[in-house]
């Protein structure tokens, strides 16, 4: 009987785990606000100005989003996976300008901005569209 109960519990829990993988993270005011901050940072990016402070601001806002989501705990994997490509895109840029070994390139900046505009628009839509 005890074995039967254990088997039943295991089946029930693994079933729940399977169902939980289909459940997304839910609406969160702070995440929604921060992803729009990121989008605003990118939209306002001016490639004729110094890039380092502007890229640092985007990087910090994305890191805030990551740490907040991570601290929130379970079921935030989807939003963490969502912002990871954007973080990687920004990190490469940050490393390039933070090193300061070469002159800031405005053409590279404009192309990077175009890509980030698309990435942030898509990420914002997904974060704000949650239930």
């Amino acid at each position: 009987m005890k074995k039967l109960f254990l088997l039943f519990t295991f089946t029930l829990l693994s079933g729940c785990a399977n169902v939980m993988s289909y459940v997304p993270s839910f609406w969160d005011d702070n995440q929604s606000s921060k992803i729009i901050d990121v989008r605003l940072d990118i939209t306002r990016l001016d490639c004729s100005q110094s890039q380092l402070p502007q890229v640092s601001k985007i990087r910090n806002d994305l890191e805030w989003f990551r740490l907040y989501s991570d601290s929130k705990g379970l079921r935030q994997t989807d939003v963490l996976n969502l912002i990871k490509p954007m973080q990687d895109t920004v990190e490469d840029w940050y490393k390039r300008v933070a090193l300061g070994t070469q002159k800031e390139n405005s053409v590279y900046c404009e192309l990077k901005k175009k890509i980030l505009i698309e990435q942030s628009a898509r990420a914002s839509k997904a974060v704000l569209g949650r239930f």
């Binding site: 997304p24 990871k84 954007m86 490469d92 590279y108 990077k112 890509i115 990435q119 898509r122 569209g129």
Partner: protein
């Protein structure tokens, strides 16, 4: 894939594919004009791949949200 194919996709009404093709063309043209380095061009191309990963994650969240909403509506009807 030749540049001609990219121009055809960029000029098509294929939404995201046209946008991506336009970006690849822009990066290639700036590289050929000497306005960006090989290293910068490589990084920008990698960003385009990352964009696809982000798209897939966003689609996943939207699909799951739609599923949860549908279950919620059906559970209200039962």
């Amino acid at each position: 894939m030749s540049m001609q194919t990219l121009y055809e996709i960029a000029g098509s009404d294929k939404g995201w594919a046209a946008q991506r093709a336009a970006m690849v063309i822009a990066i290639t043209e700036q590289l050929q004009a000497g306005n960006i380095s090989n290293d910068e061009a490589r990084e920008l191309m990698l960003d385009l791949v990352r964009m696809d990963q982000l798209d897939a994650e966003a689609d996943d969240i939207e699909l799951k949200t739609a599923l949860v909403q549908a279950v919620f509506v059906v559970s209200k009807m039962v």
